[in-house]
Amino acid sequence: MLGKLFKYEIKASARIFLPLYASLILFAIINNIFIRINNSSNNNQLFMNIMQGISTFAYVFLIISIFVFTLFVMIQRFYKNLLGDEGYLMFTLPVRTGEHIAAKLLASMMWVITSVIMTLFSVMLIAYNEKFFASFQEAISQILTEINRVFGVNGYAYIVEFAVFILMVLATNILMIYASISVGQMISKHKLLGSFGAYMGFYLISQFIISIILVIGYSAGSRHWTSIENIMQNNTTIPHFLFAGIMLLNLVFAAAYYTITNLILSRRLNLE
């Protein structure tokens, strides 16, 4: 059932994102063309500069809209589809509440990642010229060499760990939004205000917990370690442990937000 829910989730949001992505690519190509024309000729300078300015503005505006929409659709799909009138259908499907949350979370994560990739791709489209592939390859190999030089074999492990970490942070943040909306909907008369309040509350609590752990960790660690740099150079396993610790903490937060959302939607649903 999760697969089916995910399919409909993508179907519902694709009709908003696909046109946005298409126009982003289109404007990246237009920008690329203007840059080439302006570089190669001196004719009609002012007119072409204005045209390029307009298309650059449109392009930047599109990037901003894509990220605003990514956030907006994330919130709107959860609120409208589950807690609005559509919730009467969704919550009477023979599906576990957890599957609803998971389908929405996976779809949101997918759109955030796709939005980032599309934006990077559009930047490359603008920068594209005859020498592009050669210099792109060169840049990548330079980065890899540099990582290898500083971190050694561990460098690749860091890249993988960092990617996993980014995904976890993303999931945790989305679940935090879901948990806030769920808490907010329990306050019948002020759902929106309640959601904002809950978000602030969750934020403060998580910052508080993280600070405490950092202080404890630092005071415990400072007795043994002289500096972070020292550890990095002398002991290659400790950074991985630190990373694992941070990820574990993230996982605890994610699990907490998921549980709050699941409990509220299962037991304290308050459809109008």
């Binding site: 409909y8 519902a12 559509e86 009467y88 576990r96």
Partner: protein, 232 residues
Amino acid sequence: MNPILECRALTKKYGNTQALSDVNLTIERGRIIGLLGPNGSGKTTLIKLANGLLTPTGGEILIDGKHPGIETKKIVSYLPERTYLNNWMCVREVIDFFKDFYSNFNPEKTYEMLKRLAINPDDKLKTLSKGTKEKVQLILVMSREADIYLLDEPIGGVDPAARDYILNTIISNYNENAAVIISTHLIADIEAVLDDVVFLANGTIALAEPVDKIREEQGKSIDGLFREVFKC
């Protein structure tokens, strides 16, 4: 066989408001039951509890002997009193949605009924009138071969001609193993199809009896009795 729906000392409170108090009720299969009562008497609350959209404050509600959950949702076909269909799909896509999630959904029935009511399956829901949307919803709900149909105000928003067709649809689309609960205050319109009536007043059951018995013993129509019981 378990009764299809059973309430045991069922109680629901919203804050300090008592929506249902100590309701005991057993609904058997093969009956069409009218759930009648004035506004705010707890009809919708009872139906929402049966669907698992609300959790009881006290007591319990059982569908085919089970608490509301995935298993009961498979056999309960529910028509809420509001439009729960999204706007961006066309009717055909919604039919596919139902087919995907409900194994007892019969799309042939749906297309046949849509044809009878001259609704085009390729129309976007956005373009349909409120009444037409309600018809589509009812058709979808009645196209499931469910064990119990919970219909909350199924005829409120549609014209009298469609009302007759819909009631006909309801009677002809359930089998002897299924029960149909219709909540409404338009009693005169549905009186003819009912087997039993349940009167709800202020969250308690005022009366739960077969229609024939009421007519025999009281010599009144259900509509007449309702007006008497709930006289303002």
